[in-house]
Amino acid sequence: MDFSIFLQQLVNGASLGSMYALIAIGYTMVYGVLRLINFAHGDFMMVGAFLTLFGYSAGIPFELSVLLAIVGSAFIGVMTDKIAYKPLRDAPKISLLITAIGISFFLENLFIVLFGATPKAFNAPEYLTKVFHVGEIYLPISVIIIPIVTVLILTFILYILYKTKYGMAIRALAFDIPTVKLMGVDADRIIMIVFIIGSSLAAIGGIFYAVSYPSIDPLMGIIVGLKAFAAAVLGGIGSVTGAVLGGFILGFTEIFVVAMFPELGGYKDAFAFFFLILVLLFRPTGIMGEDLERSRF
């Protein structure tokens, strides 16, 4: 592989990895506070992409549609928690998990009913799809913007988690919800913040995905969501930095394996699960997780 192809794959990998990372953060944070693998989480990227499409097909400017879609997804995320998960706080975790799968089916089918099952073209504004040629490297603007925005968002999340009282409460909730309440913390409000952060990041990931692969359908969240879940487990579920690391590792691997062994291209979706199996076999706590009971965030 010559150097320019290598660079090309590097930027592609960073861009794909960013999307996985953004979605994986939501998985890991919800798991951190509720011990729930929120299988509906992948669908929030779909919700984000569709709400954006809906907004700007209705004549709202693209930027504003993006903003409204993020807010809308956060709202749906919070409502999911309030309606479906909150009544089950004291129920066995398996009930929560099954509910999450139910919510996932519900969202997918709701959007099929609303928008139809056929893939829709997602025509992002021209300035996002413009392509630069640097030497032999082919650089769509989005491929540059996506990793930059992801790093900014990640910095912001880490700041919230480690430098504010809200982050302190989020981290403490991972250990002991009743005791956190006794510190005067409104635990329901903190869980709401976690769902707002998680769902809006997933929506951002979904919008990035739609800009990069401009065809969206109501089931798009399934496979990307599962890969992001694999990324979260790879990084160590419960750890935000781990989720980001896992996302990038997965993104780079997927791109590079296909670039080096084009005949494996048809199997590219399988790598994430191959990783997942390896992690579960040899290091079930993931890269950043030391001990399932002790390491959170």
Binding site: I160, K165, L182, G184, V185
Partner: protein, 256 residues
């Protein structure tokens, strides 16, 4: 007027009566003991005071205000804080972070002030950081500030838990078996600290304990529970010689 009044509290779980029509009053500034054999209902009383349980009957009055059933996350604003029998620190967080969470209610800034890093955010964070470090100083925990809570010895973890409770700025401190699992050196050290913070922070203390020597030294007055019923109320010295109390602890020898 009493500071804390437990007024005719009954707590039933299904058919089991854990606490049966219990009443007692604690004066301001007292260290009040709550003792009794295992399963007597002592911790249940704590759970009722902090709002984790709602009593089947009866009321909890704090400075004449009815606080029965106040939610756990609101009880801290009434000035009530507690520790747990089985230590419940936030395990892999640092000691300083554990204490800082206790200041949550006192750190007054909003989401927006945090997101945009407005002056009040910095001022408040600096303020609680300073207060937290003062607390560590009082408890002699400064050297452990950055240690993970679980890396500490049992006795030190107990102190961290009491410090965290104090961080919420309470007037009533509930201590659930603070001396459990401590050696005699640690126990006497703990006694000194409890006396010290009681005076310094103007506290009233309600204490659950098994160690009678410790109770004797600490408590101004106590209530003895057995199977959810009050079997004695008075001075510690009188409790030790009370027939009912002795038989509750050691078994009834009169029929032997």
């Amino acid at each position: 007027m009493s500071f804390l009044k437990i007024d005719g509290v009954t707590m039933q779980f299904g058919g089991v009566t854990a606490i049966d029509n219990l009443s007692f009053e604690v004066e301001k500034g007292m260290i009040y003991g709550l003792i009794g054999p295992n399963g007597a209902g002592k911790t249940t009383i704590f759970n009722i005071i902090t709002g984790n349980l709602y009593p089947t009957e009866g009321k909890i009055l704090l400075e004449s205000n009815n606080i029965t059933g106040t939610k756990p996350n609101k009880i801290v604003y009434k000035g009530v804080a507690r520790t747990f029998q089985n230590i419940r620190l936030f395990k892999s967080m640092s000691v300083l972070d554990n204490i800082l969470i206790g200041f949550d209610a006192q750190a007054k800034y909003s989401y927006l002030e945090a997101i945009f890093r407005l002056p009040r955010y910095f001022k408040q964070e600096k303020f609680i950081d300073k207060k937290a470090k003062e607390l560590l100083e009082i408890f002699g925990l400064t050297e452990f500030a950055d240690s993970k809570a679980t890396d500490l010895s049992y006795g030190v973890q107990r102190k961290v838990e009491i410090a965290r409770a104090l961080a919420t700025n309470p007037t009533l401190l509930l201590l659930d078996e603070p001396a459990a699992g401590m050696n005699s050196n640690e126990t006497s050290d703990l006694a000194d600290i409890i006396f010290k913070i009681k005076d310094k922070f103007n506290l009233t203390v309600l204490l659950i304990e098994h160690d009678m020597k410790f109770v004797n030294k600490m408590c101004d007055k106590l209530t003895v529970l057995d199977y959810g019923e009050k079997i004695f109320e008075g001075k510690p010295a009188d409790a030790i010689v009370d027939k009912k109390v002795v038989s509750a602890y050691l078994g009834d020898f009169s029929h032997a």
